[in-house]
Symmetry: C2
Subunit: 360 residues, 2 copies
């Protein structure tokens, strides 16, 4: 009774028009729901389309509307729940507005990011959301901006680029949490990040990531305000895989003048740090205090539950997508970027250090 559906070529408006005995233009109008179409024609065309199982070719449609209803999202690592959640916020919002998402993972490599941006531009996405690997190397982002296609940055800022940016106030929360540690009695506070740099950290070093840079500044301000000096020797960058993080952790805790508190720059790092601490048979917070960025659910399950810095990641994804789509649709942006606030959630991993050595 029903015709064989699996034709080689796709059904096109022309096919539908022929079946409905009308011109291609009329069929297109009826199908696309635009222009003037008589009821008679509309009914016939729709029936024919149904019968033939017609599906519009979005590629062709995009080509002459100039809109692809697709946004490109470039993140460092979707495997990281931080980005997973942000991506979820983005895709949920995009879907709600009828947009699709092309996702590209850069592995935090600027080269890959440059490629990603180029590819997305070539695919004529309507806009881009990028979590830039570097806040310094931003030529490719500038090119997006100049191409006229909307761009929204997520998580990290790019100084000098006049682009809507969705990020939390890192300097502030870093300051506050460092102050929290200092007032608990800590002086030897370590900070571990995977940010890649050419050499080891030194005071005043330029940091490619605005996120890390801001955190450093916040720490510094907290120490200065307390009349103390930042323990630069405990700021450890270039952490890599789990093993290298554990190695760094061991070094920090087994040196003559060990760290009494460790701040992990994200949840993935924190995981390995905690594991290393456990392997050393040290306990948190008796032997060492611990604090990490990212409020992953599992931080409530460890003994003790971990004190973390929670960021409204999902909401930030939503905000980024909303801002982007607003721009794509030509609506104006609010003048200022809304500031998202991170929150220090005190659970049980911070206590006074074993032996308080108030230097001076």
């Amino acid at each position: 009774m029903n015709s064989d559906a699996s034709r080689r070529r796709d059904v096109t408006v022309a096919d539908v028009a022929r079946a409905a005995q009308v011109s291609k233009a009329q069929a297109a109008r009826a199908l696309g729901n635009y222009g003037a179409v008589s009821d008679d024609v509309r009914v016939r065309v729709l029936a024919a389309a149904e019968e033939l199982d017609y599906r519009p070719n979005e590629l062709a449609r995009s080509m002459n509307t100039g809109k692809s209803h697709t946004i490109g999202v470039v993140v460092g690592d979707i495997e990281n729940p931080h980005f997973g959640l942000a991506t979820r916020g983005i895709t949920d919002t995009a879907k709600r507005s009828g947009f699709n998402v092309i996702l590209i993972n850069t592995d935090e490599d600027t080269g890959a990011e440059i490629d990603a941006v180029r590819v997305l531009l070539d695919k004529r996405v309507d806009g881009l959301i990028v979590a830039p690997a570097s806040s310094v190397e931003t030529q490719h982002l500038r090119r997006v901006y100049e191409s006229g296609r909307p761009l929204v940055l997520l998580d990290r800022k790019a100084p000098g680029l006049d682009v809507h940016t969705v990020a939390v106030d890192m300097e502030g929360i870093s300051h506050d949490s460092t102050t929290y540690l200092i007032s608990a009695g800590h002086r030897r506070i370590a900070f571990i990040s995977t940010l890649k740099t050419v050499g080891p950290y030194w005071d005043g070093m330029q940091l490619d990531s605005s996120q890390i840079s801001d955190r450093r500044d916040g720490m510094k301000r907290a120490f200065v305000e307390a009349g103390l000096e930042v323990p630069d020797d405990l700021i450890r960058l270039n952490a890599g895989d789990a093993e290298s993080i554990k190695k760094i952790t061991r070094e920090l805790l087994q040196r003559p003048d060990p760290a009494t508190a460790i701040i992990a720059s994200d949840g993935l790092i924190g995981l390995s740090v905690v594991e290393a601490i456990q392997e050393l048979d040290l306990s948190i917070p008796q032997d060492v205090s611990f604090l990490m960025y990212d409020d992953f659910a599992w931080t409530r399950l460890t003994t003790p539950p971990l004190t973390v810095i929670a960021q409204p990641v999902y909401d930030m994804g939503v905000a980024a997508a909303e801002a982007l789509i607003r721009q794509v649709e030509g609506r104006k942006m609010p003048a200022a970027d809304p500031a998202f606030m991170a929150e220090l959630i005190r659970r049980g991993s911070v206590a006074a250090p074993k032996a308080i050595d108030v230097g001076h």
Copy 2:
């Protein structure tokens, strides 16, 4: 010195051709690197393209090659690290072969999945990877198959659909781990899943998800082999958000005839189950044994570390992408789907139940 780059309209082959003083056809050939082009023309065209900062419009290209070099990926929840990792395997592999990924999240809703598939088909993706929400409602998948576009299933099977499927042998691992619990002395073994069904579980009930269905079968076989009966009253489906999972956990542990071991169907569920157990002030494994699917890194950090069923999720993502791309490129598939094996990783969350009541 340099011309103003930010033109309104994009630069096209026609523009390049004009600048290079050759025909559009020749410019296209030089740019697309096909057909016969003299060195002279090639050099001029490439120089002009460089000068004008020409970038091909992939949409237009896709339209008449029929290939979009894009694959669609439909998953239930990227926020779930399980899918995050699988997605990572897919995107890594896709990138390596020059493919892009359009990601759509369905929230495990079949309706959303149907839409997703339709949208991706309309966008003329070269192929699809789907982690189907239901193993029963698969009309939309059948339609993909019939449309001639390659399709690969991930995680869950769809009986009756002759499609390459990348999944682990759930029946086997479920049987083995249940046997492990039984031999540790457990009889009251609970199983919690978020699978939605119309009513509560009963023996022989048809389960929409092949994954859950296979696990049930494996459990059943283990019990039967041990000459025991499956405690159907402890199989709890329709778990939802964290709160509902906790509620179910409490019910299981506070009933007159409580569960002595709980199996969580995935890492997200496991998280809430463990949290609920902690909130009840019960300890694992003294008061209740615990086992969960998904070997998330944090399971090593809890006290005790959790016994889990590890699945090679990343590799499965890679395999799915490779299989799909192989089909897209017209190469034949190996006859059989390679079987991925899950592995029971015994850490510390399973022990003998408090009071062994060997019913008989």
